[in-house]
Every structure is written in C-alpha cells, then in structure tokens.
C-alpha cells in the first residue's frame, strides 16, 4: 500500500515536504507572490525540459538547447530592430527565431537518423556551433535598445500571472496530451522502448525521431525569445549550462535516460522540485556556492528515491 502511494506520488510527496520545510522556515514562502515568482523562475528551463523529455523518451539527448537559447535570442533581437513597423518586426523575429530552432532540430534529426551518429555527438557539435554563431553575429556584444513593448512578452503579466508562466502551462498541457493521446506520442515511447521492434511494427522511426528533435529545438527557441524579452536584450552568453539544468529536471522527474519511460508531468514536478529548492534557499539567504552543493545533493536523493520505488 505504502509502496503504491510512493509509486504514484513519490515526487509529489517530496515536493510537498520541501514546501512545508520552507514554509516553516520562511513566512514569505507560501505567499501568492512568491509562488508565482517560483513559476516564473522555472518557466524558461521548464519549457525546454518539455522538449528534452520527448528527446530522452526516445533514448536520445539534446545538448544544443542552451546555445540555441542564445543564438535565437540574439537573432530575434537583431531582427526586432529592423526598420519595420513594430508589429511586423515582432512577427518576423518570432517566426525567424522559432524557425531557426526547428531547423537546428531537423539538422540534428537528419544526422542522427540518416547517418547513424549518436545524438550526444551531433548535439554537442550543434551546441558549439550555435554558441559560436551567437558571438559571431553580435561580435560578442549584447543587442540593446529594443522596443519597449517587446519586454512585455517575457516581463509582463496577464490577469496577474506572469506571461512565461502561462506559456509554460500551455506547453505542458499540450505536450501531455500529445504524449498520451496521439499516435505520435505512442510512437515516441515505442521507439525509446525498442527502436527495431517499433520499426518492424510499421512505425516510421526516422521521421518520429527527427520530429522529436524539431520539437526540442523549437521549444528552446521559444525559451530563447522569452529570455531575451525578460532581459530586454539579446545576450550571446545567455543559456549557458542550461542543458544540464534541463536534463536534471527531466531525470529527477522520473524519465529514464535509456528511453521509453517517463512523462511530462514528472518533468514538471522535477522542475518544481529544483525551482522551489533554489527559491527557498534564496529566501533563507543561503549563499550561491552552498546552494549549488545542496541542489546537487537533492538531485541525487530524488534519483535514489526513484530507483527505490522501482524495486
């Protein structure tokens, strides 16, 4: 009985425990303001983590996400400054940014499925390429002086809720529906479980895998745009090490690096667990060096809990 409860809600319980501890230690923790703040803080990486969940479910990995955030951020902000009416240049920068991310994913997918190169290598290469490109196009300088209105996208609120939080919620719900209710979602799990068996069951495994990297690329691009908007600038060094934060959230959320097992609901809890921890430690004025150590320990504990529940 106990194991059944842990099995279903293990991560949720861990999250609740964490929240209770911080609520006791800091009166400010359980205020609406602070909780919305947490959701805003995790939104950028959590959106990327959704794409990463798709990738990891197919037993792949995408290391290019952090660099994509940067390159899409600078490219979109440069386009935003083009000499068009604001709405037009906004549209152009959004479309081009997302298209760049999707394109990067399709390149990764092509190399992985056509030439049988491991996802790790392909996306590692893309990671360096895009990081380099971000510095090349900006000559290493941030893109400043953006139209005021642009910052509303990532910095504004709708009905009191931060816009990135709303976008994150939409992305999670959509992804959950796609994974659980559509054929595409089923195929993602099947390929991660046993790619050859999936192919022999008539699944176009190359196409599905490629689409998965395109999803990851486009969601990274979306995050890149949101981040640029929040900072109201395009920074070539933004998104550094995001790939690690994102992978941590996915794995803590119970998705297996070997593929075939996991969910975006888990990824949400994983992102929250880490986000709440960071927030709580901030409220308690724990220094950032110590924070890193604590976050690492909690990641280990969470994964341990996950192993233990599988027994």
């Amino acid at each position: 009985m106990l194991s059944k409860i842990l099995d279903r809600f293990g991560l949720g319980i861990a999250l609740a425990l964490e929240a209770i501890i911080f609520a006791v230690l800091s009166p400010y923790f359980f205020t609406t303001d602070n909780l919305l703040n947490v959701s805003l803080q995790i939104s950028i990486t959590a959106i990327i983590a959704v794409g990463m969940t798709f990738v990891i479910l197919t037993a792949g990995i995408d290391l290019s996400v952090g660099s994509l955030v940067a390159v899409v951020g600078v490219v979109s902000t440069i386009l935003l400054k083009a000499d068009f009416p604001f709405v037009l240049s906004l549209l152009l920068s959004l479309v081009a940014g997302i298209a760049l991310g999707t394109f990067s994913g399709s390149v990764a997918g092509a190399f992985i499925t056509r030439f049988n190169i491991s996802p790790f290598i392909v996306t590692l290469a893309l990671m360096t390429i895009w990081r380099g490109a971000a510095f090349v196009v900006t000559e290493g300088r941030p893109v400043w002086d953006l139209p005021e209105a642009f910052s509303l996208l990532g910095g504004g609120r709708t009905l009191g809720v931060p816009n990135p939080t709303i976008i994150m919620a939409v992305v999670f719900v959509l992804a959950h529906v796609v994974l659980n209710r559509t054929r595409f979602g089923r195929y993602v799990y099947a390929i991660g479980g046993n790619a050859e068996a999936a192919r022999l069951a008539g699944i176009n495994t190359r196409r599905v895998v490629t689409q998965v990297y395109m999803i990851s690329g486009s969601l990274s691009a979306l995050s890149g745009i949101l981040l640029a908007s929040r900072m109201n600038s395009g920074q070539p060094n933004s998104g550094l090490m995001y790939e690690l934060d994102v992978i941590a959230a996915v794995v803590v959320g119970g998705t297996s690096l070997f593929g075939g097992r996991g969910s975006v609901a888990g990824t949400f809890l994983g992102s929250m667990l880490i986000g709440v921890l960071r927030n709580g430690l901030n409220l308690l004025n724990v220094g950032s060096y110590v924070q890193q150590v604590v976050v690492g320990v909690v990641i280990l504990l969470a994964v341990l809990l996950d192993q233990w529940r599988k027994k």
Partner: protein, 500 residues
C-alpha cells in the same frame, strides 16, 4: 500420478517454494527434487511457474518462502554468483547474452581465462570453439552475438552454460527455435553430462522431446505441483490432461479449403542471402516454409516485409507490382510479419499488453487527432481472451509476463492488423499445447476469411499438420514445393539438404 521410488541420491531438493508477484502467486509451496545423473522435466501451461522456479534456483530472483537443499544441506542461494559457486548452471528462456560482445567473450563471460590478470584471448577462443564443436556447430567464436540468428544465439547460450563445471544444469526451453539436427546434437551432450552424473532440469513445450530425453516429469499448473511421474509410466494424452486440465482429441486441427486466386507472388528475388527465389501464395492458403537454420526462411520473410534491402527481383500483390521500401510500406499494403525474436524485434517491454497489441493497428484506432483508448482496450481485451493470455489485466506491463504469454502478445498484434498476407516466423515458440491448438484454429479461421498465410517453423510435425503446401529452402535457394498430400518429413529433409 504417483511418486516413483528414487534410488539415486538427491543432489537438489526444493521444498515448499513460494513466490509472489503483484497480482499473482507464481509459485505456491512447490516441491521439486533432482538426483545425480537424472533428467527431470518440468512441464505446464504458459505462466505455470516453471521459469520462476528455475530463476530462484539460479539466484536471479529471490524466493518468498521455502528451502533449498543441496546434497541434503540447507543452502542459501541469494545471487547468480552464489548459484554458480554451488555448481548450478542455467540456460535462460529469454537469453542473457551481451549482443555487442563476441561469441567467445559471451561464452566465458564472468569466467574469463586469465594470465597474470590479463585475459588470455587465444585460450578463450579455443574453449569456445571446442564447446561449439561438441554441439556440432560451426559458429565463428570471433563474431559478435548481435549478428547471429535466434537459433545460433540459443546454441551460444547453451555453450555458455556448458563451459563451466556444473553439477546441476537447468535448461529453460533450449530447443524452442532449434531444428531436429541441432536438437539431436544437444541431446547427445545431455546424455554425456548425464553419464557424468550431472543432474539436469529440462523445460520444454515439445512433449515428444520429453519422452526422448527425460526420466522423470513434474507438471505444474498455476504455481502448484499437479504431480510427478516417470516418463515410462505416462503418455502424451495423460500429460496434456495433467497440464491443461482437459484432453485434446487431435494435435493439429485442419480444415480443407478451396484454393482461391493468387495473392502474392515473388519472382527471382535476390538478396545477400537469397538466390533467385520465386514463390506464389494464394488467398485462403497456409503455406509452410521449411529449411535448416540459416537456409534463408527469415530473410525471405523480411524481404517481403520490406525490412531488408533487396538486390533484384519483382513482387506482385494482387497482380499489382509491389516494392515495399520499409515495413511501414508493407503494412500499409496489407502484409504483416511476426518476427522470430520476440524480445529484440517484437515487444516494447516497458509498454502495457494492450499498447503492444495495438501498436501496428493504431491507424485504425485513431479518431481525429487522438487514439480512441476505449476502442483500443476493448480490441486488446478481445485478443487477450482469444489467446488466453495470462496476465492480471490488459494494463499489465509485458516485462512481467512469462515467455509463452509474451509470444501470444506479439501474435495478438498481428492478428489485429487485419492483414491480407500474414507471415508467422516461429509462431508457436514456447507456447503450451493447449494454446497451440487455439492458435492453429485461429490460423485456420484467418485462411477461411481469405487471408494468405506463410508459416516458418522448425517444428516439422507442426508444418505437416497445419499447412496446405510446404516450400523448402536450402542455402538461400528454393529447392521444391510439396503439397499436403506429398509432404513427408523425409522428403522435406532431402530438399532441405540438397546442396550439402
């Protein structure tokens, strides 16, 4: 059945063995014993608990209750390591080979010959070669296991167990994918071990085999012992009765059908393995494909299914040219292939039973954007009943199913596709007698509905029993086709060895 007197000394006693899984009592106070130099068979329906009992002995899983005595001494076996240390060897039903390692490396895995801490590779090769020779096989010890066929992997698995000095050897369905010749080689080895005083536990669903090799038989049903008897004192009918709880009048039900129009034809097909193969399949026909291991039966099936590249040749499906470039194309055109290797090429182990069954039919089960899960579950449930799949529910993860029940899940997947042509590569591997009969009936029914069926099987009596025609391959070439009336074991074997 009564307990026969045992004159020889008992080397193994398993008393009151109990094993519980969520939702099933896999073993319920099972007693089992073994003497030196004895072959003791274990039989029973799929999911009866045979493999579970052996896995406990091998230390692969832990028992929930009971005692294990070796030579009368209570012994704790809590890991594969301690089982090996006690001289127990195990050949698992679902192989435990490392695909990326070579044959020789697999055979000596965990037991590598070493010299001053360095692996002695020449010695390793020699050991492997000599054991494979004993088994009458010429498999190259230096190739990686992933390049081998299922039958060859089975041989390697057997060689691995034989490479260690064992007092007790358990074989869990070692012959499921082997042909007659290889089975005889294996039996030769078993007889030799037996005369050396090794105690052997032998699990198989091929009952004829048990009468040939075993001294004693214990029948399990639903995790309990039905009885133990000497093979001399029983017969096939009694065994079936004990296993499935009812009697079967005939082993191979067969209905005579009028042959209909041409469905699939293959002309001069060439692949790396096949040479100028031509054949025709008619609607409502059951065509058998016979041949020795490595004759190219699986390759022919995979070529028709678009799973492998084809060098040259033409195929016609209902008079229209047919060139599948992927399994997806073939399935869309109405062709299904049940692969011989259920674990590597068939099942998605971490998915549920119903997800596995529906995997090739999702197109039909999709409403707009979404999978109609109610319809999916209902359809999967139907096959679960028809094939008598033993599992707590359609939501059970297939990882936890017994070997035979896994096979039934794959079978269900292809029965669900409503294909025009169904190719079954070893469909009844590891399936118990009672359900085999049901499967033959299902195949008959499909033929009656106008489906063209090709069956590949290493079990010749099965082919003779259910097929309308039997095509024989030898060394990648088609050496002849026999009608049901003409076909005999001898004629098939002659065609199957025409070039050797």
């Amino acid at each position: 059945m009564l307990d026969p007197p045992r004159t020889m000394s008992l080397i193994l006693e398993m008393q009151q063995m109990t094993k519980r899984y969520p939702g099933v009592l896999a073993l319920d106070r099972v007693d089992f014993s073994l003497s030196a130099g004895e072959v003791h068979a274990l039989a029973g329906e799929n999911g009866a608990g045979k493999s579970t009992l052996m896995k406990i002995l091998a230390g692969a899983i832990q028992k929930d209750g009971g005692e294990i005595l070796l030579d009368g001494q209570r012994t704790k076996i809590d890991s594969p390591h301690s089982s090996l240390k006690n001289g127990i060897g195990m050949i698992y039903q679902d192989f435990k080979l490392v695909p990326e390692l070579t044959v020789a490396e697999n055979i000596s895995l965990g037991n590598e010959p070493a010299h001053r801490g360095f692996i002695d590779f020449p010695q390793m090769q020699n050991t492997a070669r000599s054991i494979l020779e004993q088994l009458g096989e010429n498999i190259d010890p230096s190739v990686t296991v992933k390049t081998l066929s299922v039958a060859q992997r089975q041989i390697v698995e057997i060689a691995k167990a034989l490479s260690r000095k064992v007092r007790i050897l358990a074989l869990d369905e070692p012959t499921a994918s082997l042909t007659e010749q290889e089975i005889q080689n294996l039996f030769g080895v078993i007889r030799k071990l037996k005369s050396d005083g090794v105690g052997i536990i032998y699990i198989s669903h091929r009952l004829d085999e048990l009468f040939e090799i075993a001294d004693l038989i214990t029948v399990l049903r639903d995790g309990t012992v039905v009885g133990t008897s000497s093979l001399h004192e029983t017969n096939k009918a009694k065994l079936i009765q004990a296993m499935v709880g009812r009697s079967l009048e005939e082993e191979y039900p067969k209905i005579q059908l009028q042959r209909q129009n041409e469905l699939l034809s293959v002309e001069d097909l060439n692949t790396p393995k096949l040479k100028d193969v031509s054949m025709t399949l008619y609607r409502g026909e059951i065509l058998g494909l016979a041949g020795l291991v490595g004759a190219g039966r699986t390759e022919l099936a995979r070529a028709i299914f678009g799973a492998d590249r084809v060098h040259s040749g033409t195929m016609w499906l209902l008079q229209k040219a047919f060139t599948p470039r992927s399994p997806k194309d073939a399935i869309a055109a109405g062709i299904g292939l049940l692969t011989e290797d259920r674990n590597l090429q068939g099942l998605i182990l971490q998915m549920t039973l119903s997800e596995n069954i529906s995997l090739a039919s999702l197109q039909r089960l999709t409403q707009g954007l979404f999978i109609d899960r109610t319809k999916e579950k209902a359809a999967a449930g139907e096959f679960m009943r028809k094939l008598q799949i033993k599992a707590p529910s359609a939501e059970t993860v297939v990882d936890t199913l017994s070997g035979g029940n896994r096979q039934k899940v794959i079978l269900g997947r292809w029965l669900m596709t409503k294909s025009k042509v169904l190719i079954f590569d070893e469909p009844t591997v590891g399936i118990d007698v009672g359900v085999k009969y049901e499967i033959y009936n299902l195949i008959n029914q499909l033929a009656k509905d106008g489906v063209g069926i090709m069956v590949i099987s290493s079990d010749l009596p099965e082919l003779l029993g259910i097929c309308d025609r039997i095509a024989v391959l030898c060394d990648g070439r088609m050496t002849g086709t026999l009608s049901r009336k003409e076909a005999t074991q001898e004629k098939i074997l002659r065609l199957a060895t025409e070039f050797s």
